[in-house]
């Protein structure tokens, strides 16, 4: 890559950023007077960005600190989603009977919004913390379930024949053949699930008032500090982007020929 190409690689995406900033700036000047301008947003956000780990009070902390709280909650819910979703995916993939019995109900539950699951979680667990985990897990697990099931069904007959000729025991068959052969699909599911888990966290924090990036967003809306809403949106987006990139790297390591 020569210098001109390098320059283009950096500058071309900036066109998009510039266009969004312009639209934002114009909007705040013309039809939406309460939308803070980009410069004002930066002004108000600076203490939160400049000292991202600062803790001034329960609901007044640096953005990374809030993001960290959210990430911890997401990690727990996500772990639960994988722990339930992966075996479920294997069952669906291995047993046509199981698939026929559960696929319809899964297709019905899959599109349900986190906002709908959370109240049910609160009813079930009578406490916001387990309800939050329940909501993250049940929303995030579907891509893992479905991709694992597809991966299991896509295992080449050759590999299964090897297992049959060698008379592998069921556990050996699972760990030596089925799981390694399904891993690439599983990781695609894991990556999509993580994206959903991160989407869900904001909604969950808003409704439960838990400290975190989503809780902060909702509180600042209620306090009429609109600049911080935009700060939170950008933080959520950036964190989500980084998470997806990281999972993408892990995923590509498991792509076998």
């Amino acid at each position: 890559m020569n210098l001109a190409q390098k320059l283009a690689a950096v500058s071309v995406p900036l066109i998009g950023v510039g266009a969004v900033l312009l639209a934002w700036s114009l909007s705040s000047r013309t039809w939406s007077k309460s939308l803070p301008s980009p410069s004002r947003t930066w002004e108000m956000s600076r203490p939160y960005v400049a000292q991202p780990l600062e803790k001034r009070g329960e609901m007044d902390q640096g953005v990374l600190r809030f993001a960290w709280y959210s990430l911890v909650l997401v990690a727990k819910g996500y772990a639960l989603a994988l722990a339930v979703g992966t075996p479920l995916g294997f069952l669906l993939g291995l047993s046509p009977f199981f698939n026929r019995s559960f696929d319809p109900i899964i297709q019905v539950l899959r599109p349900v919004s986190p906002l709908a699951w959370l109240p049910l979680g609160l009813v079930l667990f009578e406490n916001s913390k387990p309800a939050a985990l329940f909501t993250i897990a049940i929303c995030a697990m579907w891509p893992t379930v479905l991709n694992t099931a597809v991966g299991v069904r896509a295992i080449p007959q050759d590999y299964l024949n090897v297992a049959r000729v060698l008379k592998l025991s069921p556990p050996k068959r699972l760990f030596k053949i089925l799981i390694p052969a399904t891993l690439p699909y599983m990781f695609t599911g894991f990556r999509l699930s993580l994206g959903i888990a991160w989407l869900v966290i904001v909604a969950v924090e808003m409704l439960t008032g838990a400290p975190g990036i989503g809780g902060f967003l909702w509180q600042e809306y209620n306090s009429l500090i609109y600049e911080h809403i935009i700060l939170c949106i950008l933080t959520i987006g950036l964190v989500g982007f980084v998470l997806d990139k990281m999972m993408g790297l892990v995923e590509s390591r498991f792509k076998v020929a």
Binding site: D158, Y159, N161, V162, R164, V165, L166, K167, L168, K172, K176, I177, P180, A181, L183, V256, A257
Partner: protein, 279 residues
Amino acid sequence: MPFLEIDGVSKGFPAAGGHTEVLRQLSLGIEKGEFVAIVGYSGSGKTTLISLIAGLLAPDKGEVRLEGRALSGPGPDRGVVFQNYSLLPWMTVYENVLLAVDQVFPEWSKEQRREHAERYIALVNLTRARNQRPRELSGGMRQRVAVARALAMDPAVLLLDEPLSALDALTRATLQGEIERIWAANKKTVVMITNDVDEGILLADRIVPLSAGPGATFGPAVTVDIERPRDRKALNHDPRFKNLRGEVIDYLLGPGARKKGAARPRSAGEVAAPLEVGT
């Protein structure tokens, strides 16, 4: 009583508009230590036949017997080298072979099993590629791993399903030599499926032609009475070689060819193409 016996075996599959019989009333006895080549057209059911002997498929009629016992499923007493090698891509050469060894000799010590796996990797000249994964290997090397894995199970019968068909001519010739060397050293009973008549004559004690499908049947077996080791170059000028080749090809292009107006229409060129006659 033959060592391996295919007795009145028929096998069909559900097809559009009913049932297609792929193999019809096949019977063949194979002696212990014998090398038999089954030569036939592509699509005549050769892989179905090897799957039946391997026990991966059950016959509709008849049975396959090994040492007088009817086979009811797959097992490590019949080592299979599949057409596409079927190596596990997430395992190294060594791990692929060791998986088979661990499975067949669980009573051995870890050290014994390691040595055994290493010995068969050395037998196919792959010690240097021991820690590589299949995708890093050439087709010929993968093929040798598959052979090493099958042999390491110390099977009573070695089943080779067009083991060399995916390889270029030079690699193919090299591996033919290797298969003969390994066979001579181990004295295994070998059933090899091939679409190459010359390959059959070069390697086998006996050639059994399989007619075109559907409803493929065995033609008259041809005994290869050429002393070993057989020299590929000398063979080309050997009148016995020419006679044998003529016999097999006459059957395959004559009585063994597809009946006119058979179920699956194909041009004459397509039917003839999979048979490799020339050298």
